[in-house]
Structure formats: structure tokens, C-alpha cells
């Protein structure tokens, strides 16, 4: 479970506070949620997602992951936390160009020290669900945008993190591929019991999620 308690985040220009990006956010996210942060551009969706993912620091308040406070962790501890507990899906896929699909999917598992056999079995399982099992030996640059994003989802899911944070995962995809991706992610959420949080404007995601968390000017509404 994720808990946010009076989380505030400012963006600075020099030493002056320019934007109050997150305002006193209090939020509980239960295990297995399939939720969306929605709101107009600049409302703080991505900032909130990054704060939950220990990618960005907050200025005040506390964030707990399974009752463990993550805001006070060192950079190395945050890196370790992201590796073990959190999966990321980015708008721009961000696959490693020199590794093939199989190696990209298994990359985080490899970092976490899973055996080659475990990695192979898990990669095949996820690749089957996401229908990219025939592309395992391909390099990312030979895949379509939809296929690359499915590889990115597979990479995030493969190591079974507690939560997946997906920031505008469909922004670079056409509607057909977007629907397919979100449907598959929903299946994964149900099958793997992994919490998935989106930050997106996508209406199809809004229709697919079980909970929508609305933000405006950095505050929950």
C-alpha cells in the first residue's frame, strides 16, 4: 500500500519558488489498484507519479510504501527501491537499443539477480501475454511503436514489482495500439495483482481504470 501524507513539491527558479507543483497531497493507494491520475496539463500528474516512484524529491510531507518511508532514503537506497519495488513505463519507451527484446524484458530481473532459467521462463510468459513472443530476438529499433511500448511494459512487469507507474504510455501510440496496450495492462493487473498507476489524458485509459484521481493546480480535487 502507498500512503502520501501532506506532500508538497515546489519547482524553483534560482532560489525562488516558482511553481507549487504538489499541494498538501494526502492519498492512499491500495495494493492491486488500476488507477489514473488525471487533470489538465501542468496539474502535477507526472510530478506526483515521479514522487511516488522515488524519482523526484519532495519538499515536505511523507510518502510510505508498505509502511516504509521512502522520502528520507539515500539516492542509492532509492535506486535499490526502484529496482525491487517499482516498475516504470515511459512515454518514449526507453528500451536499451543494443539489447534484443528478450534481454530488454529480462534486464531488471538480471539486475535483481534472478537466475537465467527464471528469467527465460518469465520473459516467455510475459511476452506471450503481451503478444511479442515472436519478436524476442529482434532489436528495439526494428519494432513498431506499439510493440516497443509492450516490450517496455513487459520489462516493467517481468520482475513482479509491487507497483507500476506508467506516464503517458499511450501518447506515442495510435488508438488501436493504445487500446491493445491498456487492455493487456489491465489483464496483467488482474492476473499478476500488480498495482498500476497511470498519469495520462487518454480517455480510453480513463474508461478502463477502476479509480480516477483528479488533480488541479497540484492539489487533489
Amino acid at each position: 500500500m502507498i500512503q502520501l501524507h501532506k506532500v508538497n513539491k515546489y519547482f524553483y527558479k534560482g532560489e525562488t519558488r516558482e511553481i507549487h507543483a504538489l499541494r498538501d497531497i494526502n492519498l492512499n493507494i491500495e495494493d492491486g489498484e488500476f488507477s489514473l491520475f488525471s487533470g489538465p496539463s501542468g496539474c502535477g500528474k507526472t510530478t506526483l507519479l515521479n514522487a511516488i516512484g522515488a524519482l523526484d524529491n519532495i519538499d515536505s510531507g511523507k510518502i510510505y510504501l508498505d509502511n516504509k518511508e521512502i522520502t528520507s532514503l539515500s539516492e542509492n537506497e532509492k535506486t535499490q527501491l526502484r529496482l525491487e519495488e517499482i516498475g516504470f513505463v515511459f512515454q518514449a519507451y526507453n528500451l536499451l537499443p543494443v539489447l534484443n527484446v528478450e534481454e530488454n524484458i529480462g534486464f531488471i530481473m538480471k539486475l535483481r539477480g534472478f537466475s537465467d532459467k527464471e528469467i527465460q521462463e518469465r520473459v516467455l510468459e510475459i511476452a506471450n501475454i503481451l503478444e511479442i513472443d515472436n519478436k524476442l530476438q529482434s532489436l528495439p529499433n526494428t519494432l513498431s511503436g506499439g510493440q516497443q511500448q509492450r516490450v517496455a511494459v513487459a520489462r516493467a512487469v517481468a520482475s513482479k514489482p509491487k507497483i507500476i507507474l506508467a506516464d503517458e504510455p499511450t501518447a506515442n501510440l495510435d488508438s488501436k495500439n493504445s487500446h491493445k496496450l491498456i487492455t493487456m495492462m489491465k489483464e496483467l493487473n488482474e492476473k499478476e495483482k500488480i498495482s498500476i498507476l497511470f498519469a495520462s489524458h487518454d480517455e480510453f485509459i480513463a474508461k478502463s481504470v477502476r479509480r480516477i484521481i483528479k488533480l488541479e493546480d497540484g492539489a487533489l480535487v
Binding site: N50, L55, T79, L83, F90, V98, L99, F107
Partner: protein, 403 residues
């Protein structure tokens, strides 16, 4: 994990092929040039030292105590012959030779010059230092008052094959004695002292000229690779002046040191070029992939793994460059060792310093091992700056920047 990092490093090293090829060419060319220069410097020095040893001092020379200060007959070694036999019995000694030297005046009908008359046993000299290889013109013939003259002395006295000269010197009684000689050969040793003043005659004629016995000699010269021999002889013959080659030829020692400094400077410059080359390529490569590294850190890859990857990329570049550099270097050195570098157009200047006009390279295993370690060190060091960039990298900045 290491296997995966190695694979990523390998693939990334050749991701921008033209850039990689450029740096590989740079490493290979500069390294092979450096090896060729190093080989030529060493070859030049070794050749000069070798000729000096063969023509004059050997590895060790023995004189009577005061002879090198005052080259008079009274300072000759009186019991040189039994001494020679004793030294020949030492196991590590390869060759021993007696020489009788007298300084005096060499004259032709028109010119005269200071000269140093050397009484030698031609056959023994041949065994000792392949004396015939020093022949520049004519033949090695010292019979019937035949003489071999140093090339520069021949020029000074305008001597040719068949020319006649008179050499005058003091004998053992202090009387001025002369000997008429006929030039049978011109000698070029690249030993400046010999080339400018030496006349070689049969040692028996020398005994007669100086009126000394055949047990007497001014110098006992020894060839031996035994590094302990010098100390042994010094202890065994404290009444004599036992000197190593480098003690007798301080110029050679200076030249060796100078070559070492030249080689070190060349080595340093080439390593600097390699360092800057790899650094440049690595830095640009890292800047190209800042987003990739940011994402890697974002998804949980530890900095230590990224550090290993970058160092490996740098080492792969350097190692590949080293392999090509070593291959080209060997080819260069083999060519220069066999055919040499012909600098005949600078012959006068080179010969006046005692250098050969054709320089031959030597090949040593240490060239390749030293270069290998230096290039590897340069590659690891050149990864340091890009690593600082990655260490300071904030994943969130990279992720924000791409949106």
C-alpha cells in the same frame, strides 16, 4: 550480470562505427609509429654500442693502473699473455684479446697528423668482434707492413689504398722509432676515436717497433655477458685497472640514457594522444546516451554497474586499437629490422656523431607489454571524466527532458 554488461559495452563500443574506426585508426597508427621509433632508437643505440664493443673495449677491458692517464709504454701490462690465458679459462668468458697501442705521428709526403697505432692479431680480432665487417675499402691485410686506416684519418691524410705512410713514435727506451706502412684497407667502425685516428698493423710489427716482448700489451679486452665478471676481475686483479664498457665509454651511457628519455617522451606523447582520443570518443558517446543512462538509473541500475560498463567500453576500444597497433608495429619493426631506414642523405652529419647511415630497428617484447599496460591505464583514466558526468546525472532531469 557481468556477461550482460560486457555485451552492452561491446555493442555500444561499435554502435557508431565510423567514430570507433576513427579512434581505432588513431590508436593503431600512433602506437605503431611509436613502436617503430622506439625500435629505431634502440636499434641505433645497440648498433653503436655493439660496434664500439667489437672494435675497441669489449664488455670489459683491463689496463695497467696508470695507463689511461699516461699512455706510455712503461704503463703497459707486462705479464699480459699469462693473464690472457688465465682469463680465457673463466667459463663465462667468450673471447679475450690483447692489443698494443702507441700514439704518435702519421705522415705522408704532404701531410701529417696525430694517430694511434694499434697492434692487433687479425685472426683473433675476427673471432673477437668480426673485424672484417668494419672494412670500408680494400682488404684486411696487415702482412708485410700492411696497415688498415680509420676512414676519417684517411680523409685527413688523403690516403688511398696503396698509399704509403710513416708512423713515428717512442719505443720502450725513449728513442723515436718509425715504421713505413702501406695502406691495404680503410676501416669504418662508427667509433669516432678509431675512425679519426687509428691505424691497425700486425701486432708482431708493433712489438718490433716498440721493442717490447710478446707478453706485453696495453689492453686486454674481454667479451662476456656475465654481469658478475667485472667484480670478479676487479677483486682478482686489484693491481690492474679493470673497467666495464660503460665506464670506458661514458658517451655510450649518455647516449643510452638519452635514447631512454627520447623513448619515454615519445611514449608519453603517444599515450596522451591515445588518452585524449578515447576520452573524446567516450565523452561524445556518453553525451549521446545521457538519456539511456538516466533511464538505466531510473529503472534501478546501480551506478557501479554503469561504471563497469563505461570502463569496459573504454577498455574494449583501447584493446582493439592496441591489437591493430601491435600488428602494424610488428610489421613496421620487422621491415625496419630487415631493410633499415636509409638516411644516406644525412650521412655526413650522422657519421660525424658515430651513427650508421642506415638505421636498423630492434624488436623487444617489452615494447608490447609496456604499451599494453600504458594503453589500458590510459583507457581506464579516460573513462573517468564521462563517469563524473554520469554520476552527477539526475534521472528525473533526463526523463523530464524527453517529454
Amino acid at each position: 550480470m557481468f556477461k550482460l554488461i560486457l555485451k552492452m559495452a561491446w555493442k555500444n563500443s561499435f554502435l557508431r562505427l565510423s567514430r570507433t574506426i576513427l579512434v581505432l585508426i588513431m590508436i593503431a597508427v600512433s602506437m605503431s609509429m611509436m613502436l617503430a621509433i622506439e625500435g629505431l632508437y634502440d636499434g641505433m643505440a645497440e648498433n653503436m654500442i655493439n660496434k664500439n664493443k667489437r672494435s675497441e673495449s669489449g664488455d670489459i677491458s683491463i689496463y695497467a693502473k696508470d695507463y689511461r692517464i699516461n699512455k706510455e709504454i712503461k704503463h703497459f701490462i707486462k705479464d699480459a699473455l699469462p693473464l690472457k690465458r688465465e682469463i680465457e679459462n673463466i667459463k663465462s668468458v667468450q673471447a679475450v684479446i690483447l692489443r698494443v697501442n702507441a700514439e704518435g705521428l702519421a705522415s705522408t709526403a704532404r701531410k701529417s697528423s696525430f694517430a694511434s697505432l694499434n697492434g692487433i692479431d687479425v685472426n683473433a680480432e675476427e673471432k673477437f668482434g668480426k673485424f672484417s665487417e668494419f672494412l670500408h675499402e680494400g682488404e684486411i691485410d696487415v702482412s708485410k707492413r700492411g696497415a688498415l686506416v680509420g676512414i676519417e684519418l684517411a680523409k685527413t691524410l688523403k690516403l688511398h689504398i696503396g698509399s704509403k705512410i710513416i708512423f713515428s713514435t717512442q719505443d720502450t727506451h725513449g728513442e723515436i722509432n718509425s715504421i713505413a706502412l702501406k695502406v691495404k684497407g680503410i676501416i669504418q667502425t662508427t667509433n669516432i676515436k678509431l675512425d679519426t685516428s687509428a691505424i691497425f698493423i700486425d701486432i708482431k710489427n708493433m712489438y718490433k717497433l716498440l721493442d717490447i716482448t710478446n707478453a706485453t700489451a696495453s689492453q686486454i679486452s674481454i667479451m662476456s655477458e656475465d654481469t658478475q665478471l667485472l667484480e670478479l676481475l676487479k677483486q682478482k686483479y686489484p693491481q690492474l685497472d679493470v673497467k666495464s664498457f660503460l665506464e670506458l665509454q661514458p658517451m655510450m651511457k649518455m647516449m643510452q640514457d638519452m635514447m631512454f628519455i627520447f623513448n619515454s617522451i615519445t611514449f608519453f606523447i603517444v599515450m596522451l594522444v591515445v588518452f585524449v582520443g578515447i576520452l573524446g570518443v567516450m565523452y561524445v558517446s556518453i553525451l549521446d546516451r545521457v538519456r539511456e543512462f538516466g533511464i538505466m538509473r531510473g529503472i534501478g541500475m546501480a551506478y557501479k554497474h554503469i561504471r563497469i560498463q563505461i570502463i569496459l567500453e573504454s577498455v574494449i576500444l583501447a584493446f582493439t586499437g592496441y591489437i591493430f597497433g601491435a600488428i602494424f608495429g610488428i610489421l613496421f619493426l620487422l621491415y625496419l629490422g630487415e631493410y633499415g631506414l636509409d638516411l644516406s642523405s644525412f650521412a655526413d652529419a650522422l657519421e660525424s656523431f658515430g651513427y650508421e647511415t642506415v638505421l636498423y630497428a630492434s624488436i623487444k617484447f617489452s615494447y608490447f607489454t609496456n604499451t599494453f599496460f600504458a594503453i589500458m591505464a590510459a583507457s581506464v583514466l579516460s573513462a573517468w571524466l564521462p563517469l563524473r558526468k554520469i554520476k552527477k546525472l539526475n534521472p528525473i532531469e533526463v526523463i523530464k527532458a524527453q517529454i
